[in-house]
């Protein structure tokens, strides 16, 4: 289902003819543990040199998928190809995909240099060659001269870079990253996001990044696959996922959105009038196959809402409930007259508003997306 989407969006610079243009491709990969299906019929193609993320809530099967690519699990069905060659029968230590583990898994009994040299020594390279490569890669990740340091002497961000260096020194076809930023504190995580992106540019290696944090995926990736309950919901560029989600799950999971449950009362074209469960009616654009009488959810991005008078389109009245100050991300929490709370990001009005002020919230119907209601 998703192959087409990826091929269409693939950066043209990497496009060469034939299937070998993809560093990694999975076709119809399924993994069952007993009666439980962890990964169901997943296909993806990752062009050379791109940063590809799999984004999903915990337990959606993304780690299982990555472990299959690394070779720690065998798919129940389907095929995994690296540089065009099937690796399903290849043991993990013979696959040229390297992995940065969630907790990094640096070897605590080895020094930084020995950690990086481990893979090279497994390959049987000469001592002189290894020394040169280790020094070279430490330079490239910005930690020259740390060869003899012990792992516990490094800071969180440095460990991160050593874990990446340990993989990159082996020049893998694909680098897998399993939520490596999860253990870092917020400030460092923001910093490492940018650093990872820069490293990926520098090495020009294909990165497959797994995360449950939508902002990590959006900031770093060329392509993002949104995964839910073992399936891919949508594959596309971060912008496409944000602006044109194909399902309620994607709309709710990627980026912030106000979600108003209701039922479609009537439709004209794709424009639908939704009777909200808590009372009132609003207008939005149906983005899937929902039709009159269906239970739906209406998604409104906070920045798609305006408090200005005289905007055309949909308009509801309400009062300012509270101001949520967060610098450039400040929000206004508006209680609309039918009782629901919605977050509005309208920077031009944030400063002038006070709690209890009457406001009218307006949006253009095409920016309010209506999807069939998610099953919980």
């Amino acid at each position: 289902m998703s192959n087409g989407a990826v091929r269409d969006d693939a950066p043209p610079s990497t496009a060469t003819e034939g299937p070998a243009m993809y560093d990694l491709s999975c076709s119809r990969v399924t993994k069952k543990f007993g009666a439980f299906t962890a990964v169901s019929d997943v296909s993806l193609d990752i062009p050379s040199g791109s940063f590809f993320s799999i984004l999903g809530p915990s337990g959606c099967g993304k780690t299982t998928l990555m472990r299959m690519i690394a070779g720690f699990e065998t798919p129940s069905e389907g095929d995994i190809k690296i540089k065009g060659e099937s690796v399903v029968a290849v043991p993990p230590n013979r696959r040229n995909v390297k992995m940065v583990f969630q907790h990094l898994a640096l070897f605590p009994m080895m020094s930084v240099g020995e950690n990086i040299a481990y893979g090279l020594r497994c390959r049987g390279e000469s001592r002189a060659e290894i020394g040169k490569k280790v020094a070279g890669i430490l330079d490239r990740v910005g930690l020259p001269g740390t060869t003899d340091k012990r792992i516990e002497q490094l800071s969180g961000g440095q460990k991160q870079r050593i874990a990446i260096a340990r993989c990159m020194v082996l020049e893998p076809d694909v680098l897998l990253l399993d939520e490596p930023l999860g253990a870092l504190d917020l400030k460092l995580r923001e910093h490492m996001k940018i650093e990872l992106k820069l490293l990926q540019h520098q090495f020009e290696t294909t990165f497959l990044y797994i995360t449950h944090d939508q902002s990590e995926a959006l900031v770093m990736s060329d392509q993002v696959a949104v995964m839910n309950a073992g399936r891919f919901e949508q594959i596309g560029s971060p912008k496409a996922l944000y602006d044109a989600p194909v399902s309620g799950f994607v709309a709710g999971f990627v980026g912030d959105a106000n979600c108003l449950p209701g039922t479609i009362a009537d439709m004209s074209g794709t424009e639908a009038r939704v009777m909200l469960d808590d009372g009132g009616a609003v207008v939005g654009t149906v983005s899937d196959g929902s039709t009159v009488g269906d239970a739906v959810e209406l998604f409104l991005r906070p920045e798609a809402l305006s408090l200005r008078d005289g905007e055309d389109g949909m308009r509801v009245a309400g009062t300012v409930d509270s101001l949520l100050f967060n610098g450039a991300n400040s929000r206004i929490l508006v209680k609309i007259d039918t009782g629901q709370m919605i977050e509005v990001a309208d920077p031009s009005h944030t400063a002038a508003m006070a709690e209890g002020d009457p406001v009218s919230v307006s949006w253009r119907p095409e920016r309010a997306r209506v999807f069939a209601r998610r099953t919980r």
Partner: protein, 288 residues
């Protein structure tokens, strides 16, 4: 006031410990050391000197018994490690969470009976009229009963069986602390099974290995019942010599000398082992 209370509780806590160490370990050792330096020159007449030590080194049978004890103890320790490591690895890494406690408990069961009963178990199995001999005879595999007791192999088997638990426990606790991701990283970066074992598992488990080896070696070298019961007259063990000097020959001076020498010699072996593996007591036995 608070400080006084703190001092009092510290004092109360330490008193039993100090009494135990002082009265049961330090004082007897000083006594033994003192007796070992005493030379008997007549009835109740003593002078001080190193004659007892000279006697030990001049009598090959004593020397050889000590070396033999050390050598068999090292062998027993090595065997306990080779057999214990897979068992510990299975319990710590492969067994399911639920069966882990049961397996561990099964390792502990032999400790519930005394050394004597365990040694007697081997005697029941291995003696000339024992279970194995009789069964083989009935099956027609052998024609005359065989005596499997009273040789070195039996002593080694018995000792390994007695001490292996003390190898398994520290190994399990170190291996349990190892993140499986380390092994996966080891494979992912291109290591074979052997490489992962040699470069990741063994170095990680080294504190546990050394701790287990020290404990089993000390227990083996200092054991008395098992070698005496299973080895009989043929398997002279150094503790047996000490016993003989004290009890049979009533030569306390020689017995004390042997005791001091056993302590020094085993300490030397442990020290050499620590040097060889680059570990220290703080990173192994005393590790929390």
């Amino acid at each position: 006031m608070g400080r006084d209370a703190g001092r009092l509780s510290l004092f109360l806590l330490f008193t039993p410990f100090v009494l135990w160490i002082g009265l049961l370990i330090v004082l007897p050792q000083i006594g033994i050391g003192y007796v070992s330096l005493r030379e008997k020159i007549g009835i109740n007449e003593f002078s001080f000197g190193l004659k007892n030590y000279a006697d030990f080194f001049n009598e090959p049978i004593y020397r050889n018994t000590l070396l033999r004890t050390a050598w068999i103890s090292i062998l027993v320790t090595a065997l306990a490690l080779v057999i214990g490591f897979p068992v510990a690895y299975y319990i710590a890494k492969i067994a399911k969470e639920r069966s882990r406690a049961a397996l561990f408990l099964m390792c502990l069961i032999p400790l519930w009976v005394s050394d004597l009963v365990r040694a007697y178990g081997w005697i029941v199995l291995l003696r000339e009229t024992g279970v194995i001999s009789t069964v083989l005879l009935r099956l027609g595999i052998i024609s005359t009963p065989i005596e499997m007791l009273y040789n070195d192999v039996t002593v080694i088997i018995g000792l390994v069986y007695t001490v292996i638990l003390f190898m398994i426990v520290p190994l399990v606790s170190t291996l349990q602390g190892m993140d499986d991701a380390l092994l996966e990283a080891g494979y992912n970066l291109g290591g074979s099974r052997f490489t992962v074992f040699r470069r990741i598992i063994v170095p990680y488990a080294m504190p546990g290995i050394v701790a287990g080896c020290i404990i089993t070696f000390m227990l083996t070298a200092g054991s008395y019942l098992t070698p005496v019961l299973l080895g009989g007259k043929n398997s002279s063990w150094f503790t047996e010599q000490i016993y003989n000097q004290f009890i049979t020959r009533y030569n306390w001076e020689a017995g004390a000398t042997f005791g001091v020498l056993l302590l020094l010699f085993t300490s030397l072996v442990v020290w050499a082992g620590l040097m060889l593996t680059g570990q220290s007591l703080a990173t192994t036995v005393a590790k929390d």
